[in-house]
């Protein structure tokens, strides 16, 4: 790996060294924005794009096949703008799929991987060099960089998935009584010092829809939307969310559709 831990630590140090008083304010001219901008411009996640591209074209799996025949909605191997339109309905699986569940389908069908094997390694340990799925998801999404999120509802299952996602966003359960909206339904909110995205607002939904996969500074790896949802569900004290589940797809569908029009720019950068 070309990444040196020291380099990243140094950048992180600059980020953390900003005056503590400024941290507490969270105003529009937040001095933190300077640190964030610096990191955006030198995002270590860029390195994952090339790895993802290698994984995409490499003949892998029991069937020794590349992913060039994988159809992400624009035709086999057509990646330009494909991620911008996900989730969407796919006739060959008769399901609405997001990028990551579609990737699973292709890795199983085209390359012959066992789904349980892919899923087990999909979310990599922090500080590792990341998983194939993480790198692939980033590479494929990066091929929509500069384009606008453009999720459409046409098929009945797309309408169903979008509305289910909305329902789930507001569905409270568990010992914390949390749904997504308890933390993501208002502007200017934080959990401790961590800013929370206001997702029932168009701008907030656009931020979600256009910045994943993202480099996660605290973990030194690229993380995907599925990881984000898994981690939220964990904090909510719910059980383990299955990778590529309909619950995750529906929530992603709800957020991405509401985020239509955002300029895609990945990898995003998250704390």
């Amino acid at each position: 790996m070309a990444i040196t831990r020291g380099g990243i630590a140094a950048v992180t140090f600059v980020y953390l060294a900003l005056p503590a008083a400024a941290l507490a304010q969270g105003q529009p001219d937040d001095p933190l924005a300077v640190g964030r901008q610096m990191l955006m411009e030198d995002n270590p996640g860029e390195l994952w794009i090339e790895r993802g591209k290698q994984f995409f074209y490499e003949k892998r799996g029991p069937k020794k096949a590349s992913l060039e025949q994988c159809d992400f909605g624009q035709g086999p191997g057509k990646l330009e703008g494909a991620a911008a339109r996900l989730p969407r309905y796919f006739a060959d699986t008769d399901k609405v799929q997001d990028l990551e569940s579609r990737l699973l389908t292709c890795m199983v069908r085209l390359q012959g991987f066992k789904e349980s094997d892919i899923v087990r390694r999909a979310i990599s340990p922090g500080g590792s060099s990341g998983s194939d799925v993480e790198a692939l998801a980033l590479y494929i999404t990066s091929r929509s960089n500069g384009m606008k999120v453009n999720v459409t509802l046409n098929h009945q299952k797309e309408y169903d998935s979008y509305k289910a996602g909305e329902y789930l966003f507001f569905r409270r359960s568990g010992q914390t009584d949390f749904a997504c909206v308890q933390c993501h339904g208002e502007a200017g909110k934080r959990i401790r010092l961590q800013d929370l995205i206001h997702m029932t607002d168009k701008k907030g939904a656009q931020e979600v829809a256009s910045t994943w996969p993202a480099y996660r500074g605290a973990h030194y790896v690229v993380r995907t939307m599925q990881w984000r949802l898994n981690d939220c569900v964990w904090q909510m004290r719910l059980p383990d969310l299955n990778y590529g589940s309909d619950y995750a797809i529906a929530l992603t569908h709800y957020l991405n559709y509401n985020g239509n029009g955002a300029d895609i720019r990945v990898p995003g950068f998250k704390r």
Partner: protein, 212 residues
């Protein structure tokens, strides 16, 4: 409600023309679809799977996209909350503020990773995540109201102790469907733990009430 109709009504009409029969499902169908997703999307032991089921209050409090509680629903949530109240066996509602201070700053406990429950003696109170606490404390959230000076404003009378205890045990008795978790009623905290949080909030010696 009217606004919701405007937001969703217009695209529905457009889609009906453009795509034949595909359109937004009704609320009942959406509920069925989404609840099936909840059932199918998690890996959990039967004990952990219970966390996914909604109790009556949670169902009422899951209003979609700004829909308002009816008066009747609010009254039902309050009534269920009142019925849920349990108090410590000792009857003492004010515990030790030092223990409460620690608890208030503890955000861990009872999370599940790969089927395993976090290995903890007791759950944290989670307060710091959402509430400002002692004056000058920076690493605090703002999802809930500031608690700085809570006891300075209210005093530490028996009535205030009881009110504070109940608002932590099940705050929905006072503000139905608020964002505040029903920390005692859902079993996240024990009645004894809550007495320590009460002390942390109202004891004049607690850092939350320091004049700094």
């Amino acid at each position: 409600m009217k606004k919701t109709w405007l937001m969703f009504g217009a695209p529905v009409a457009g889609a009906l023309i453009a795509a034949g029969c595909a359109t937004y499902p009704d609320a009942q169908t959406t509920r069925q679809n989404a609840e099936k997703m909840v059932n199918d999307s998690f890996t959990a032991s039967p004990a952990h799977a219970k966390r996914l089921a909604q109790d009556r209050s949670q169902q009422i409090c899951s209003k979609i996209a700004g829909a308002q509680l009816t008066q009747q629903e609010a009254a039902e949530v309050v009534e269920l909350a009142r019925a849920s109240m349990k108090y410590p066996a000792s009857g003492k509602l004010v515990g030790n503020w030092k223990i409460g201070d620690k608890l208030a700053h503890d955000g861990a406990g009872d999370r599940i990773r790969r089927g395993k429950l976090e290995n903890r003696k007791e759950n944290g109170g989670l307060c710091q995540n959402c509430h400002a606490l002692a004056p000058g404390e920076i690493n605090v959230g703002n999802v809930g109201p500031s608690l700085t000076g809570y006891g300075v404003q209210r005093g530490d009378s028996e009535a205030i102790a009881k009110l504070t205890y109940e608002r932590i045990y099940n705050g929905w008795a006072y503000v139905p469907c608020s964002n505040m978790p029903r920390l005692g009623a859902t079993g996240h905290l024990t009645p004894e733990q809550i007495t320590h949080l009460v002390a942390f909030l109202i004891d004049p010696a607690s850092p939350i009430n320091s004049k700094r």
